[in-house]
């Protein structure tokens, strides 16, 4: 049986709720405290982007299993403005916070798999997976 949770993001409360749900599931799946904190930070960054740039959206988290591996998947989706220049956004040092390692490149580093789909004026879907080691 696989667990799945949705959290709506439309305020900073939503960000905290998504973090909480993420940390709980990470613990249940069996991640250690460092990975729990990493997964939570990734969720936090994705939720914050939704809140800041798309006003509202959703964070879905679920347990995943594939070929003997187990892990946890985060899907952040919104119907916001979309991201214009994906390549640039994924470059280190590009974020508005000015290259402190956070932002989307940070999420990619914190997680094992990372995929981003974005359509101008349609929205953005970001999927990230962390595998248990």
């Amino acid at each position: 049986m696989q667990v799945q949770t949705h959290v709506d993001i439309n305020s900073e409360w939503g960000i905290v709720a998504a973090r909480q749900a993420g940390r709980k599931l990470a613990r249940e799946v069996g991640f250690g405290s460092v990975d729990q904190a990493r997964i939570t930070t990734a969720i936090s960054e994705l939720a914050r982007n939704i809140y800041l740039y798309a006003d509202q959206g959703q964070i879905k988290i679920e347990e995943v299993a594939e070929g003997g591996k187990r892990g946890m998947k985060i899907i952040a989706s919104d119907q916001g403005p979309g991201i214009k220049d994906l390549r640039r956004v994924m470059e280190d040092g590009f974020t508005t916070s000015g290259g402190l390692g956070a932002g989307l490149p940070g999420v990619k580093r914190l997680m094992d798999d990372f995929a981003i789909e974005s359509e101008l004026n349609q929205g953005t879907v970001i999927t990230a997976v962390k595998w248990l080691r």
Partner: protein, 334 residues
């Protein structure tokens, strides 16, 4: 790896908690290098500390353990900054080696054959301030023994300047053997540069030819830093100046050509403004300084003179060139 790190850390912490010795702290400092080599992040270090500590000190108060949650969360951010730093450093190394290849290519555009004629003593040195140079120099003996020399300076620095420099080289290659008068050469080059270069970029150049048969030296200048002419008999230096607009500003420009005779021991000096704009103690050196530095070395060969001048000025500037440096001497031996 984790296991051995765990053991090492545990031994260190045990010993430190027992003796509070500087030695244990010294080991910790060495250990931190090892951790970084193994790509261990700050958050992993914090977590390692907690788990070792939990094992060593039984019955930790709950507050102590809990406080680590907060520390861990904060360290995740530092860990990300650290990772980003690593990837930016790799990227920088990549760029650096790309630049090295480009600089290497650029050097192949410059002539490097030995000048060894009965009549001419020739020396040149050209050192870029950065990796790529905006200075260009040229020397060549044509089929009838006339010896052409040139120094050009792209106004601007770094890669764009270096790229325009290569254009000068290719434009020079297309000059025919008949086009050897300095003024005519600059007129042709000006047309090429004007057509091909950005509006906000221009190039200064001095071009000269020595005709061994008549012992005449002719030259023209496109707004370039004046050179020098040394008369051996009188032991005097004169400025080498000729009227002409920098290359690339206007499509049709005429250049003044001047000439004089080189007697045995006489020589001409071509340079880029990186030489005269060398700063010693924060002040530009005077052209007179360059002259007196050359004067002290008249007994040396042309190549020795330019080398020594560069070494002295480089040292005086604490090995930090602010501009590309090119210095060339052409002397009639006898």
């Amino acid at each position: 790896m984790q296991v051995s790190m765990y053991r090492l850390y545990k031994d260190m912490l045990t010993s430190y908690l027992r003796d509070k010795s500087e030695t244990a702290l010294y080991h910790a400092q060495q250990f931190s290098k090892q951790m970084m080599e193994q790509d261990m992040s700050p958050e992993e270090t914090v977590s390692l500390h907690l788990s070792v500590f939990q094992e060593l000190a039984e019955d930790l108060p709950e507050e102590v353990t809990d406080s680590f949650d907060l520390l861990l969360e904060v360290m995740i951010g530092y860990g990300l900054a650290y990772r980003e730093h690593q990837s930016l450093r790799d990227r920088q190394q990549e760029l650096e080696s790309e630049l090295n290849v480009a600089a290497q290519m650029q050097r192949t555009l410059l002539p490097d054959k030995q000048v060894d004629t009965e009549e001419i003593d020739f020396g040149v040195i050209s050192v870029p301030a950065g990796k790529m140079s905006g200075d260009y120099y040229h020397y060549d003996e044509d089929s009838v023994g006339n010896f052409a020399v040139a120094v050009a300076d792209v106004i601007g620095k770094g890669v764009p300047a270096a790229m325009s420099m290569s254009m000068i080289k290719y434009a020079m290659d297309t000059l025919t053997d008949k086009q050897t008068e300095p003024a005519g050469v600059l007129e042709s080059l000006n047309r090429v540069v004007e057509r091909n270069i950005d509006e906000d970029m221009f190039i200064t150049m001095m071009y000269g030819v020595y005709y061994p048969e008549s012992h005449q030296f002719h030259f023209a200048s496109a707004g370039h830093e004046p050179g020098f002419f040394y008369r051996s008999a009188a032991d005097t230096f004169e400025s080498l100046e000729a009227k002409g607009l920098v290359l690339g500003v206007s499509p049709k420009v005429r250049y003044e050509e001047r000439g004089f005779r080189l007697d045995p021991g006489d020589f001409v000096v071509f340079l880029s403004d990186g030489v005269t704009e060398s700063r010693v103690d924060g002040e530009f050196i005077e052209r007179d300084t360059v002259v007196s530095m050359i004067k002290e070395r008249l007994h040396l060969s042309a190549q020795e003179i330019v080398n020594e001048l560069f070494e002295e000025l480089e040292k005086a500037q604490e090995f930090q060139l602010r501009d590309d440096f090119t210095l060339m001497i052409l002397r009639r031996k006898f």
